[in-house]
């Protein structure tokens, strides 16, 4: 993926991967642009940042570990409802809400990871789908807790650090969501470029071989799945806090399917792929639906077909492929 000679020693290899490229710095600086260039779109930007975080959590299990999940919204929803419920019970402090959501989603992720780790391929996909659907129905039935169809009412998020209020324009919302995304991204980046991250990639490529070199496959899968659940839970909590709404669709199939589409669109296993996929998909959807509220589906479908035809392995995958081809031809 880079033109530098790859060092032989593993530690050097990892260190080389960990170095910040100026394109990455440029990316993160670009995320500050909406404050200046498009201040009318900050609410959308904050929802894109939250979705990008959610897609990142899916990338951790799908892109890096090969676990395809059609029910990842379950953890997003658990995080969202935890933060929302905490607020309706009187404690609306945002940062501790995130912690609570992380704990709840992480716990649920840990418990389900025992099932997940044992399966692969279609069975895994359908089991994750099933878990998501069961949770959605359970949340609907437990209307006394979740508010059911109408959604949770009475969420009121307190000011961040006692100072910053969530306003109509979305300045606070975007700053908050972006900060959350950045911090967790740093952690994920460190995680991926570590021996543990390499082991995960090994599991993705050939899970049967890994025990031969002493890697505890099931334990690793459980760990990364729990971590991904925590990240998804934080994303859910961010949404609940910035919009002050939570409803059943937070853990619904539609959300799980959308996040999968965004990840594939951007390119799996590349950390930035998920973020770019989220940006492209949500901006496209917003623009298409603004132009043509009834039939925007059509244009989004065409976009997906076009991307997958022209850029194999997602946007970043396709761009990397092109970059390689351009470098090879003298």
């Amino acid at each position: 993926m880079t033109s530098e000679a790859i060092p032989v020693r593993p530690v050097q290899y990892l260190q080389a991967q960990m170095r910040w490229r100026w394109s990455e710095a440029a990316f993160w600086l670009a995320t500050l642009l909406p404050f200046v260039l498009t201040p009318n779109y900050l609410v959308l930007a904050s929802q894109i940042a939250i979705t990008a975080l959610f897609v990142l959590s899916l990338d951790l299990i799908l892109g890096f570990s090969g676990i395809v999940s059609l029910g990842h919204a379950a953890y997003f929803g658990v995080g969202a409802y935890t933060a929302g419920l905490l607020s309706t019970w009187g404690w609306g402090e945002p940062l501790t809400g995130l912690v609570a959501a992380a704990l709840a989603a992480g716990l649920f992720g840990y418990v389900t990871s025992f099932i997940i780790a044992r399966f692969r391929h279609l069975a895994l996909i359908m089991i994750t789908l099933g878990i998501g659907l069961v949770l959605q129905e359970a949340a609907n039935s437990a209307g006394w807790l979740t508010g059911g169809f109408d959604g949770l009412q009475g969420i009121h998020t307190w000011r961040i650090f006692g100072r910053f209020r969530f306003d109509l324009y979305g300045y606070t919302a975007y700053a908050y969501s972006l900060a959350g995304l950045f911090v967790i991204f740093l952690v994920a980046r460190r995680l991926i470029h570590s021996p543990f991250g390499l082991a995960l990639r090994g599991i993705r490529e050939n899970g049967l071989r890994m025990p031969a070199i002493g890697a505890p496959v099931h334990a690793h899968i459980r760990t990364i799945y729990t971590i991904a659940a925590i990240v998804a839970g934080v994303a859910g909590a961010l949404l609940a806090e910035t919009t002050e709404t939570v409803s059943l669709e937070a853990l619904g199939f539609q959300r799980s399917a959308d996040v999968l589409v965004m990840l594939i669109l951007g390119g799996t296993g590349r950390l930035y792929g998920g973020l770019i996929g989220a940006v492209v998909y949500m901006v496209a959807r917003d623009q298409f639906s603004g132009l043509n509220p009834q039939f925007w589906y059509f244009w989004i479908g065409l976009l997906l077909i076009a991307v997958v035809t022209l850029l194999p392995n997602g946007i970043l995958g396709g761009l990397a492929h092109l970059a390689r081809r351009l470098r090879v031809t003298p």
Binding site: L37, T38, V43, T245, L319, A320
Partner: protein
């Protein structure tokens, strides 16, 4: 990675070009944001409502009190309160909308209410039927109906019209549970007995098991509440197949059960189904006949409850603007809207000055064959029905 960077610079530039320059604000325009689920599962309701809005503007012009009316249409895609809230915020912040209208689904309406309250904008709910919506913001008025308003009335009517034992079946989600609660309350308060109840899963394609279980209990009547779409037809089929004859065991429900498309599919097995609604295109008044004709001329379809909600919502907006002389300020409009009453194609209606909710005549109809086709014929009614849920909340 280089490509990524250049890609981003390009995107940023594009963003600047498209988004950075917002639309100019003309002082003599009033912008109405129509926030509905134009795509997705509930798209049909938005189509009917939007067509009614377009018809109203066609009939009454796009100028009110010297101001030009402009519409901004936004799609929520279905149940998505976070998206609905964002669209409302963007409508106000970016597009400078004065009025937030539409609102088909309750979760979206509740989210939008927060924005209406914070930004102090007039909000007209044209469909969402949950009672608490109007309490969420002091700037909301509703022109459709509330679930308690319709179902409590039906329950009370059923008990007073010879039905003693009823089995209720509803869809297991907010509106269905709401309907069940209020139907049972109305029925029991008027002396009836509920002998059993069941809630079916929301996405339920086949009702035969549930209908059979109901039939086993031998009730005088079965009350069924389901949302629109494919389900009314499936219910009709199950009723026919399990041998429930609506002429002998009364089948009661809300409007969706006897929707036009469902009746066409059910055929004669639907005869005798009794439903409660605030509007039907067969309503016998000159005003309604004109409305139905105009609606058909535009879209080759009959109007339904979603259409009338939209049509009357526009009427309310125009009438309120006339009253305030074109002032689109939230406080002015809601003050003008309170207590407003008029004759609509559905019958007389009024915006309750206290609750800002709708007060209207509730009709009881039966499916009958008129001129060879199946229609909902209104044969009883209860005038001036207020929302019972809020009435009790006060006490």
């Amino acid at each position: 990675m280089q490509k990524v960077f250049y890609g981003f610079v390009g995107l940023a530039g594009l963003a600047l070009a498209i988004f950075g320059i917002g639309p100019a604000r003309a002082v003599d325009t009033i912008k109405i944001a129509l926030i509905m689920c134009y795509s997705g599962q509930f798209a049909d309701t938005a189509v009917q409502m939007d067509n009614a809005v377009k018809l109203f503007v066609k009939q009454h012009g796009d100028t009110v009190a010297g101001k030009k009316i402009e519409f901004i249409r936004k799609d929520t895609g279905g149940i998505a309160p976070d998206v609905a809230k964002r669209l409302a915020q963007e409508a106000i912040v970016r597009d400078h909308a004065d009025i937030l209208a539409g609102w088909i689904l309750t979760p979206n309406a509740l989210a939008g209410a927060d924005v209406s309250a914070e930004a102090k904008k007039f909000m007209v709910v044209m469909n969402a039927a949950t009672s608490i919506i109007t309490t969420k913001s002091p700037y909301i008025a509703r022109t459709s109906a509330t679930t308690p308003q319709l179902n409590y009335t039906l329950g009370a009517w059923a008990a007073k019209n010879g039905l003693k034992k009823i089995y209720t079946m509803v869809s297991d989600y907010g509106p269905g549970i709401d309907a069940e609660t209020w139907f049972q309350t109305g029925f029991k308060e008027a002396g009836g007995e509920i002998i059993g109840s069941v809630r079916f899963p929301v996405a339920n394609p086949d009702f035969s098991a549930f209908i059979q279980a109901a039939k086993d209990k031998n009730p005088d009547g079965i009350y069924i509440w389901i949302p629109g779409g494919a389900q009314p037809l499936a219910v009709g089929k199950a009723l026919a197949e399990r041998g429930v004859d609506p002429a002998k065991t009364k089948v009661l429900g809300q409007d969706a059960l006897a929707f036009e498309s469902a009746l066409q599919g059910m055929g004669d097995t639907a005869l005798g189904i009794i439903t409660v609604a605030n509007y039907d295109y067969n309503h016998d008044s000159a005003m309604n006949r004109d409305f139905v004709k105009a609606y058909n001329d535009e879209g080759h379809r009959n109007p339904d409850i979603f259409s009338i909600g939209g049509y009357d919502g526009m009427h309310l907006i125009y009438a309120a603007l006339e009253k305030t002389g074109g002032n689109a300020d939230g406080d002015a409009l809601i003050a003008a809207a309170k207590g407003m009453s008029w004759e609509s194609p559905r019958g007389p209606m009024m915006i309750d000055p206290e609750t800002r909710d709708i007060v209207q005549t509730v009709y009881i109809r039966r499916v009958e064959k008129v001129g060879g086709a199946l229609r909902n014929v209104e044969f009883d009614k209860v005038p001036n029905v207020k929302d019972p849920a809020k009435a009790r909340m006060k006490n």
